[in-house]
């Protein structure tokens, strides 16, 4: 059952969607709708008589920012995107990486039964600042317990987890920051990452993905949810991003003009291991 707040929020969302589509400000609303069973699914609302499809509740977890790059959706025209806090973070990070512009899309957030439009970089950043990343407690616990293990145990842990990987790339496809037209694993001159899903190929793939998301992962957990074989993949990318936070004080998805953590540097960067 929906709470009163959720019902109000949904009503406000429908009003906003109607207004945007009628005025032509948005050509498509990327939002959540009812899916199979108790699942929510992405919907792409293009006309006013479809706005009832839009829902807003606890089930809305998939990171919709991933659709901003899909050619079929891009060609529809200016999108409005129903954004959870992690979607807003994704958008800020994508702006920082010059992949999208805040003027090219309409970001809709739903808060206390009201719908807000985040029109520019400043309001996106302000929203992120007031919505810190909140993990389910087990994520922090898992990362901490991994860090406390002896190195051989950690190796065994990851070998066991990654042994189930068959390289369906659902992690990559569900990640809004994995937008490369040609992923490193698809580059074969040279073949950096073995294509086959054996122990070596899986290790190469996952450390590469984590390294490529270091300082960029907005910690939405979509890859975890997407993984059909239940590998806790986001523990890798989240750790990579936390290293960047710890070492360089840069927080992914918080500033629209932040330099990319691993393609910039400070002369005063500190380390303790270089001889």
């Amino acid at each position: 059952m929906l709470s009163t707040d959720e019902r109000r929020a949904m009503h406000a969302l429908h009003q906003k969607a109607k207004e945007l589509l009628e005025s032509g400000k948005a050509k498509v609303i990327i939002g959540y709708g009812n899916g199979t069973g108790d699942k929510a699914r992405p919907v792409f609302v293009r006309s006013v008589n479809e706005i009832q499809q839009l829902v807003w509740d606890q089930r809305c977890r998939q990171n919709l920012a991933v659709y901003l790059f899909k050619p079929e959706i891009k060609k529809m025209g200016t999108p409005a995107i129903v954004a959870t806090p992690v979607v807003v973070r994704s958008i800020v990070q994508l702006i920082a990486e010059r992949q999208i512009k805040s003027s090219g899309l309409i970001t809709l957030t739903v808060e206390d039964s009201a719908v807000m439009e985040l029109a520019d970089d400043a309001s996106l950043e302000a929203y992120v600042a007031s919505h810190p990343v909140l993990f389910p407690p087990h994520v922090n616990k898992e990362i901490d317990s991994l860090a406390a293990m002896p190195v051989e145990k950690r190796f065994a842990f990851w070998q066991e987890e990654l042994s189930r990987c068959f390289k369906c790339y659902a992690c990559r496809s569900s990640c809004p920051l994995c937008y490369c037209d040609r992923c490193i694993t698809e580059c074969n001159q040279p073949q950096w990452v073995d294509v086959a899903p054996h122990a070596l190929g899986n290790f190469e793939w996952h450390i590469n993905r984590a390294m490529h998301l270091a300082g960029r992962c907005v910690q939405c957990g979509s890859c975890n949810i997407a993984c059909p074989v239940g590998i806790p993949i986001s523990l890798l990318t989240i750790e990579a991003t936390r290293i960047v936070e710890r070492e360089f004080g840069q927080y992914a998805g918080t500033q629209c003009n932040a330099p990319a953590a691993l393609s910039s540097f400070r002369v005063e960067d500190k380390e303790t291991f270089i001889l």
């Binding site: 070998q159 899903p197 070492e247 002369v267």
Partner: protein, 144 residues
């Protein structure tokens, strides 16, 4: 009789400082361990972490990565970029269970022939102590 373990070590070094430094080690007639195969790169900024993975996958027991000291990069900032990547990569590898005592990072200038010998010798000693790189070698293409 079992042959004693001789670590195989790959060194990825930059052309302008460490390679010249290693050259100096030789011309200065400083003796040092022969376990190292040197691969020369234009700059530490070019030394992709995947090269380290490939070295281990192909049987290296240890890796040395070395280049110009901060502020001495031939290309101004390649080593600063490299330093950031190493900081993250080291911790990620540790997090995934690879013992990073097998990887040594160093700044060795063209004038530091003696330092190069020291870096190599200490790397060889440490890796000899750690033994063959079993963890990485267990991760083969045979294990589905």
């Amino acid at each position: 009789m079992e042959t004693p373990f001789e670590p195989k070590i790959v060194a990825f070094v930059c052309n302008w400082c460490t390679y010249a430094g290693a050259d100096l080690t030789g011309t200065s007639r400083i003796k040092y361990a022969t376990n190292v195969r040197i691969v020369r790169f234009p700059c530490t900024g070019r030394i992709d972490y995947n090269l380290l993975l490939k070295a281990f996958a192909q049987g290296a027991d240890g890796v040395i990565v070395s280049g110009c000291h901060p502020n001495d990069c031939h290309y101004t900032s390649g080593n600063f970029h490299a330093r950031r990547r190493w900081i993250v990569f080291r911790q990620m590898m540790e997090y995934m269970g690879v013992d990073m005592r097998r990887v040594k990072f160093a700044w060795v200038s063209a004038a530091e022939g003696a330092k190069w010998a020291e870096v190599v010798n200490s790397a060889v000693a440490d890796i000899r102590e750690l033994g063959p790189s079993e963890a990485f070698r267990s991760m083969t293409r045979d294990v589905a």
